[in-house]
């Protein structure tokens, strides 16, 4: 038996890369919150973010964008449903990372907990329960492909129009971002109270409906 160190390296490299990739955005989202004496006050102190951004930040953005696009493409090209779900995980997680890069911490973690941690699991669960064989294959028919192509082209055109027509502010002053959750919370319970409550009623109806459908005869 030989102790293969290169094997260890093979194992360790993905961990290191993954950690670094995720670390950097979280880093950027770091808020230097002051320690309050009682710890009870809400932190509204903002942090400063320079307008030009760092080189590392740009690098992170491009990596995330590449992962989003790459895994999105992989979803389209893959024929195995579970692999697709894993690629979808890559897309969702990288989008969350981009939120972190934009200092939208709250929406970032919500993206992780709801989509990556909840919806995706239910998706895989559903696939596992219903697929006929362990290796459910996806065979796309020609006319489906054409339809999908047309829809995608339309969407791409729309996005392109938006990109071309939008005014992109090239330079801004330092943006002050407070703890995004405080703003979220107060907005939800003041300005957007009615939509918020309507949403919760909708979810309640969905839950009751699901329970009704799953009840035992």
């Amino acid at each position: 038996m030989t102790l293969r160190l290169n094997q260890l390296m093979v194992f360790a490299t993905p961990i290191i890369i993954a950690t670094l990739v995720v670390i950097a955005p979280v880093q950027a989202a770091d808020t230097e919150l002051p320690q309050s004496e009682q710890g009870l006050t809400l932190s509204d102190q903002g942090i400063q973010k320079s307008a030009d951004g760092g080189m590392l930040e740009a690098l992170m953005f491009y990596i995330c964008a590449a992962v989003v696009l790459g895994s999105g493409l992989a979803i389209c090209l893959s024929k195995n449903i579970v692999r697709m779900a894993v690629y979808l995980f890559g897309t969702l997680a990288s989008v969350a990372l981009m939120y972190f890069l934009l200092l939208a911490n709250f929406i970032g973690v919500i993206q992780l907990i709801v989509y990556a941690g909840g919806t995706l699991i239910l998706l895989i669960f559903g696939v596992m329960l219903t697929s006929k064989s362990p290796w459910a294959k996806f065979d796309v028919k020609r006319n489906e492909m054409i339809a999908a192509g047309v829809i995608c082209a339309l969407f791409a055109g729309m996005l392109l129009m938006v990109v071309v027509n939008a005014e992109w502010p090239l330079e801004t002053d330092a943006v002050v971002v407070g703890s995004s959750m405080t703003q979220f919370g107060s907005a939800l319970l003041t300005d957007y109270l009615v939509p918020f409550e309507a949403m919760s009623v909708l979810l309640l109806v969905v839950m009751i409906g699901a329970a009704y459908m799953a009840r035992q005869e």
Binding site: L129, T130, S131, K132, M213, A214, R215, Q216, E217
Partner: protein, 400 residues
Amino acid sequence: MANTIAPNNPAENSAPRQADVRTEEMLVNMGPQHPSTHGVLRVVLRTDGEMVLESVPHIGYLHRCAEKIGENVAPYQYVPYTDRMDYLAGMNNNQAFALAVEKLTGLEVPERAKYIRVMFSELNRIASHLVAIGTYGLDMGAFTPFLYCFREREMLLDLFESACGARLTYSYITIGGVTDDLPENFVDVCSEFLDYFEPKIDDYNNLLSYNHIFVKRTGNVGVVSAEDAIRFGLSGPVLRGSGVKFDLRKAKPYEIYDRFDFDVPVGLPGGTAEIPRGVVVGDCWSRYYVRVKEMVESVKIIRQCLRDIPDADEKEGVCNKKCKTVKLPDDEVYMEIENPRGQLGFYVKGDGSAIPARVKARGPSFCNLCVLEYAGKNCLLADIPAIIGSMDVVMGEVDR
């Protein structure tokens, strides 16, 4: 439980349950290499998600032609093969075969040997039930009672070793008596062990039997009614768990069991001080608990043995001198005893020579296992280990 996915009483609910979500049925091979099939049992499960719609046991992976061997060796030489059948209760198996041959040939057994036989078969019953209880806890996911049981079993094995030198396959009880007399201080050490062991049974009860989760896992699971138990020819704790107070030691006393005072525990409905709520007669919990109670009864019998055992007689010894030379008459016999797992029967047919013409063993595990197909229907996947474990099968005996 009002809600649940699992109505676990096949007797009440024999029609396949309507599943809420249509899922794929899947055939799953449980075994022959599986942690909770107690050896090399293979059960093919037809499952719908977590529900098991059908379970079909497949046996034979440990078939070692024991009956064919029996037709080729003299009874005296065949004794060591019998304790390879039910390797957890070697003493009882030796005893069953020895009794069958003695009945066929009319060999006399010395009085002291009879007491030793009863004592050791009861000690082995305790040892076997300890394994059954411990591994049943293991099947339910409780690891610790298993090691507690094995701790006590280790002491029992020490006792066996002191008497016959072996710890698992004893061949101690043999045709015409036992191979060797007891060591000098055996009676003292054995009664000391019983003093130590008896309170331990309460420990097992507190730790496992009355554990709420354990009761929930085993109560009302794999129910076999008394009528069905008799119809399927079940025996031993599995039969008594169904509320049938039938024990060969009382029903048809062999050896000297009619001299002892003991009780036959049976499965009782739950809700009393002793039996927790949620237990019904004939479920896994009842079968398990009958074993626990039987250990108490065995302790009683051993104490009486230790009290009454006659002193060693130099002239008579502990084994009939003719045991090796005896010839089998041209006749047949069927002898049953109460093994820890149930009624162990030996059918022996002689043809006038020293070697039997046919030896057939009726393994209690073999007969008890055939009810799995009936009890393991429309239950949850996690109930299958519970049911198999409560049958307490030893595959060496099923496959012989």
